[in-house]
């Protein structure tokens, strides 16, 4: 299942784990990404917490926890290759995986069709 947030993050949900990243629309708005800071594995996060940072040449942007849960894995290679966020935001440049604390939170998130309309 693929879900999207109003902050332009995508979530790929498999069982009770969500793999998360930022959307192509987000990377296009950001411009060339030069730095990314990921949360630590094991961190408990609440939906809406600022848990990661993405910096373009011009500015820093916060990345928020799209859902509540625990960080189970982070994309370890990403901080060494921040440009991947521009070239492959939807697959290779995933940021972190969250073990969901409350699956009900997913209901309020957008599906792909709704997100496409949102950014149109």
């Amino acid at each position: 299942m693929l879900k999207f947030t109003t902050d332009h993050e995508w979530l790929k949900i498999e069982g009770d784990v969500a793999t998360c990243g930022i959307t192509d629309h987000a990377q296009d708005q950001l411009g060339d990404v030069v730095f990314v800071e990921l949360p630590k594995v094991g961190t408990a996060v609440k939906q809406g917490d600022s848990i990661a940072v993405v910096e373009s040449v011009k500015a820093a942007s916060d990345v928020y926890a799209p859902v509540s849960g625990t960080i189970t894995e982070i994309n370890k290679g990403l901080p060494d290759e921040p440009g991947l966020i521009n070239t492959d935001p939807s697959k290779a440049a995933w940021f972190f995986k969250i073990k969901l604390a409350d699956k009900a939170e997913l209901e309020a998130l957008m599906d792909e069709a709704t997100y496409s309309k949102y950014i149109a």
Binding site: D32, E37, A60, G83
Partner: protein, 381 residues
């Protein structure tokens, strides 16, 4: 081109071209300007250092200072009353960096001054151009006629291939050396050209009539080496070159000595020089030239990968409670492939390899004082 309205932005003559080229238009100094094109800031920056980049800087002010006597020396003497710079010694066909100072030794603007034989030609920052014009009129109108060139645009062609590109349209620009300035015909258009720029690369700044700027821009952009470059890359290029940006490294609260711009103040205007002092803030500036300053502008490199940006406070250690300095410009240097910054630190720490700590998102990040420029200049001297 009037940027004095607070809620409407001015447009440069090439605005439609920037939009047609896919420019991302943002407000800057009262104008709508392209911060980048589809190429993106990183690639635009790298392209400029590898080939040739074309920048539209028409938002800047162009001013002619002509002595009522008709003698350029009189205009030079008059301008010397406002800048700590040797203008009288600036030869015909030469350009020099200058600073308007105020009574406390602070900086009102930085500018380029060129001697065109019959008059001086000034290029000033967009954000300050109205105040600069008023400043010149308030102090020099008895001796000089001051004419703002509203009907001229300004382009910059920068990079190792700029000379060969321009040579296809002009028979005389290749012979210019760094900081030469004068009238040159480019693509059949009468231009004012200087071999200078704001990127650390070899290149040219070209003043062109508004009526002809599209023709010139199209001609240069038609060359395979040339890409249009936005203000985002202009900023990362000048940061790598260690150049000051008015409002950041220099402002009314910084003196040229604190800003490490001593080189711009020639001997003739210093204590014991032929025309020592005689500019606003001379007492402060000349004293600082002799005694030193409490703070100094330096280059800084974060130890890690996180950029440290304008406004970040600097501390002597990871736990020291009181800031000792601040960052004035910071971001990412594409040529260096890492973060870079400039800022003010106590003079005692203004030596290469000194370590200070910047506070970023509640954490203290180590930064090392680094020699400027970060990237060597390639001026054609």
């Amino acid at each position: 081109m009037n940027s004095s309205c607070y809620d409407t932005l001015g447009r440069v003559p090439l605005h439609d071209l920037h939009v047609a080229l896919g420019g991302k238009i943002v407000p800057f100094a009262g104008y709508e300007m392209p911060v980048q094109y589809a190429t993106g800031v990183l690639k635009e920056h790298l392209h400029t250092r590898a080939a040739a980049g074309l920048f539209d800087v028409s938002h800047m002010g162009q001013i002619v200072l002509r002595a009522k006597s008709g003698k350029v020396e009189d205009a030079a003497r008059a301008l010397e009353s406002l800048v700590p710079v040797d203008i009288l010694g600036l030869g015909i066909g030469r350009q020099r960096y200058a600073l308007f100072t105020n009574d406390t030794g602070g900086i009102l603007d930085d500018l380029m001054v060129a001697n065109f034989g019959t008059h001086l030609f000034l290029v000033v920052n967009a954000a300050c151009k109205q105040a600069d014009e008023a400043h010149l009129r308030a102090h020099l109108s008895d001796v000089c006629d001051i004419e703002v060139l509203h009907d001229r645009a300004l382009l910059a062609l920068q990079g190792p291939m700029a000379e060969s590109v321009l040579a296809r349209f002009s028979a005389t620009t290749s012979a210019m050396k760094f900081m030469d300035a004068g009238a040159h015909e480019i693509a059949g258009i009468a231009c004012f050209v200087s071999r200078s720029g704001y990127t650390g690369e070899d290149g040219f700044e070209i003043s062109v009539p508004v009526a002809d700027v599209r023709k010139l821009a199209d001609a240069l952009l038609s060359q395979p080496e040339v890409l249009p470059i936005g203000l985002g890359a202009r900023d990362s290029l000048r940061l790598e070159a260690g150049l000051c940006l008015y409002g950041h490294e220099i402002n009314t609260q910084t003196t040229p000595v604190e800003a490490d711009l001593n080189w711009a103040m020639q001997k003739a205007r210093r204590t014991s020089g032929a025309r020592a002092g005689g500019f606003p803030g001379a007492d402060v500036i000349l004293r600082q030239l002799g005694e030193g300053t409490v703070v100094k502008r330096v280059g800084l490199r974060p130890e890690g990968r996180a950029p440290v940006r304008d406004g970040a406070q600097l501390f002597a250690s990871e736990s020291a409670p009181d800031p000792i300095g601040h960052i004035t410009s910071g971001g990412f240097g594409p040529t260096l492939n890492g973060p870079i910054a400039m800022g003010y630190v106590p003079s005692a720490l203004a030596t290469v390899d000194s370590k200070v700590f910047a506070e970023v998102r509640g954490q203290r990040l180590a930064m090392i004082v680094t020699a400027l420029p970060f990237v060597p200049n390639t001026y054609k001297r």
